[in-house]
């Protein structure tokens, strides 16, 4: 029968080994050749866009890379989707929403009116464009054969 000492060894040993593997895998996944985070294309404007994204807690309603609050649409590849819907004017549509001084309320739910400057809106778009080019292991593709030919939002 298992003794208390053996149980403790199992706990401490298991924790140490898995934690070391975890650190190893972290280093591996960000090492050259394995890194797919699109780091090389990160522009200053996109970094500013990220800061604006955080400053306004956009993730408190939207999702990005599938992370967020599920209250407002997923924004990964949003420029591409809006380009299809608005005849190549995706970026302009986003900028007009961000600079609007009255709440955007398409289909019922209100968005906070941020009234951003033109520059700020451009930075957010640069951030979305950068996000859109990350290799997401297939998450961004149409995931069902049934929906292949449908345009989504």
């Amino acid at each position: 029968m298992l003794s208390k000492k053996q149980a403790r060894t199992f706990f401490l040993g298991g924790t140490l080994v898995t934690f070391l593997i975890f650190i190893g895998l972290t280093i591996y996944s960000f090492s050259e050749g394995n890194d797919q985070t699109n780091q090389e294309n990160l522009t200053e404007s996109a970094v500013r866009g990220k800061k604006i994204w955080e400053k306004n807690n956009c993730m408190g309603c939207h999702t990005l890379l599938g992370e967020g609050a599920y209250y407002a649409p997923e924004l990964t590849k949003v420029v591409d989707r809006l380009n299809i819907r608005y005849d190549g004017k995706g970026e302009e549509v986003i900028k007009s929403i961000l600079t609007s001084k009255i709440p955007w309320q398409l289909n019922g739910r209100k968005m906070v009116a941020y009234g951003m400057t033109k520059q700020e809106a451009e930075d957010v778009v640069a951030f979305f464009n950068w996000i859109g080019k990350i290799d997401l292991n297939g998450f961004d593709r149409v995931v069902s054969p049934l929906a292949k030919d449908k345009i989504n939002n």
């Binding site: 298992l2 003794s3 208390k4 149980a7 403790r8 199992f10 706990f11 298991g14 924790t15 934690f19 593997i21 975890f22 895998l25 972290t26 996944s29 797919q36 985070t37 699109n38 780091q39 990160l42 970094v47 990220k50 994204w53 955080e54 400053k55 306004n56 807690n57 956009c58 993730m59 408190g60 309603c61 999702t63 990005l64 890379l65 599938g66 992370e67 609050a69 599920y70 209250y71 407002a72 649409p73 997923e74 398409l106 289909n107 019922g108 739910r109 209100k110 951030f127 990350i134 290799d135 997401l136 292991n137 297939g138 998450f139 995931v143 069902s144 049934l146 929906a147 989504n152 939002n153």
Partner: protein, 445 residues
């Protein structure tokens, strides 16, 4: 109560109760907004309500864990807390930091990083606060007459929880890296070190309530926390499938997170078996309800419902949908909410000397809150699965889908009302116990 300094715990529990009520209030604001009644939008838009809801969850649970530690450590170490005054300072500063953060959220002052929205200057105060707390607990423990496994596991959980807060403070320009290290905090907290805290509290309660030999209970405690880390650390990979990092995480995360329910299953079996094995019939049945309930609901909510969307093939569809909210609600309730309510139910009669555990109000609180939360989980689940089918499979527009699933949020709000009724009854019970008193020391428990 055996030690006078244990009284500090009462005030941490009282803070917990207050913040829990606020958390539920903001939950209702979100529930109504989803149905279409977003009347408070101008003052409390959804992102504010959401940040308040999740951050208050963290703070009321932390306050509950801290209260649990202030109650358990003196008793386990057989020594009064080294400084009661500093413990009150720590309580007040925790409350101030929490309240300041929540007020700030209403004025667009936050970091906007899911679960870690507290702005940076307050982060440093959190660190100082937690260091003070750890100092008090660890010094008491190591100056005490004995260092039990239960106390060590609990303290280790609290110590690692503090250390793991730090990766969340690292600055990154890349959203992917930011997210990657944010999960070091969030995942390794809730599916790692918080389980040590839960295990420590569970073990203490089982020793007190069942009368089973400490050595037996603590041996299994090691096995359970061992299983938790064995699966949970590499199980972090399930957050990395589709956020822009290497495919290796799909394999590693897939395998290890599939093992995660084992730790919760072991915990549930452990609690039920110790209860069956125990010959002691402790009169505080209510604490036993909450203790066994926590272990069982944690298995269903964290273990089974987590497994339901953790496989990469399933997660490809469910990632970023309400299916996550389904799992999140029952998991937090079972694993952490219920264990905090269990230690409060156990300690309150001992702290105040008022043994109110036979009241039907207490039992109603247990059943209503659990039935309500299970109902909420089902409502989120149905809404989530419908969202996956309509949005991800049929590629319907996001907002059109939200309109289609709106009815499930009506059900959600109804179930949340049942849940809230249970919590209100629990708090009425809490208040009826009155404040802690030194005379309670004389009553044997």
């Amino acid at each position: 109560m055996k030690y006078k300094s244990q009284k500090v715990a009462y005030w941490f529990f009282a803070l917990s109760m207050l913040l829990l009520v606020l958390q539920i209030t903001y939950g209702f604001i979100m529930g109504f907004a989803r149905i279409g009644f977003d009347n408070l939008h101008e003052f409390i838009p959804f992102n504010t309500a959401r940040a308040v809801h999740t951050n208050l969850l963290v703070v009321w649970l932390l306050s509950g864990f801290m209260g649990a530690a202030y109650y358990i450590i003196p008793e386990e170490a057989q020594k009064e807390l080294v400084s009661v005054k500093l413990a009150y300072v720590q309580l007040i500063s925790l409350a101030l930091v929490g309240v300041t953060a929540v007020i700030g959220f209403h004025f667009n002052i936050w970091e906007g990083r899911k679960f870690l929205e507290i702005p940076r200057p307050l982060d440093y105060l959190v660190v100082i606060n937690v260091l003070l707390f750890l100092g008090l607990i660890l010094i008491t423990l190591f100056k005490g007459k004995r260092q039990t496994t239960t106390a060590l596991v609990l303290s280790m959980g609290l110590l690692f929880a503090a250390l793991l807060y730090l990766p969340g403070m690292l600055p990154f320009d890349s959203q992917v890296k930011d997210s990657f290290f944010r999960w070091w905090v969030v995942h390794l907290w809730v599916e790692g070190v918080w389980e040590l805290i839960m295990g420590g509290i569970l073990s203490f309660l089982l020793i007190k309530l069942t009368g089973v030999d400490r050595e037996v209970i603590e041996k299994w405690l090691y096995v359970i926390v061992g299983l938790t880390f064995l699966s949970g650390v590499l199980g972090t990979g399930h957050h990395y499938y589709y956020i822009g990092v290497n495919k290796i995480w799909i394999i590693v995360g897939g395998i290890f997170s599939a093992l995660e329910p084992l730790a919760f299953l072991a915990m549930a079996l452990f609690a039920v078996n110790m209860y069956r094995k125990g010959e002691k019939k402790h009169p505080n049945k209510l604490a036993l309800y909450w203790t066994l309930g926590a272990a069982i609901v944690a298995f269903v909510g964290a273990g089974l419902l987590g497994f339901a969307h953790t496989l990469p093939q399933t997660n490809l569809y469910t990632h970023g949908t309400l299916v996550t909210a389904m799992h999140g609600h029952l998991a937090f309730w079972g694993a952490y909410g219920m264990i905090v309510l269990a230690i409060i139910s156990y300690s309150l009669p001992n702290l105040t000397g008022r043994k109110l555990f036979d009241s039907s109000r207490g039992r109603m609180a247990f059943w209503l809150s659990n039935i309500g939360m299970i109902g909420m989980t089902v409502a989120f689940g149905v809404a989530g699965v419908a969202q996956v089918y309509l949005e991800r499979k049929f590629k319907m527009d996001f907002m059109l889908v939200q309109k289609e699933i709106g009815i499930h949020f009506v059900v959600l709000v109804i179930c949340a009302s049942i849940f809230a009724t249970g919590i209100i009854l629990y708090i009425v019970d809490f208040i009826k116990h009155g404040q802690p008193t030194d005379e309670a020391l004389e009553i044997k428990n």
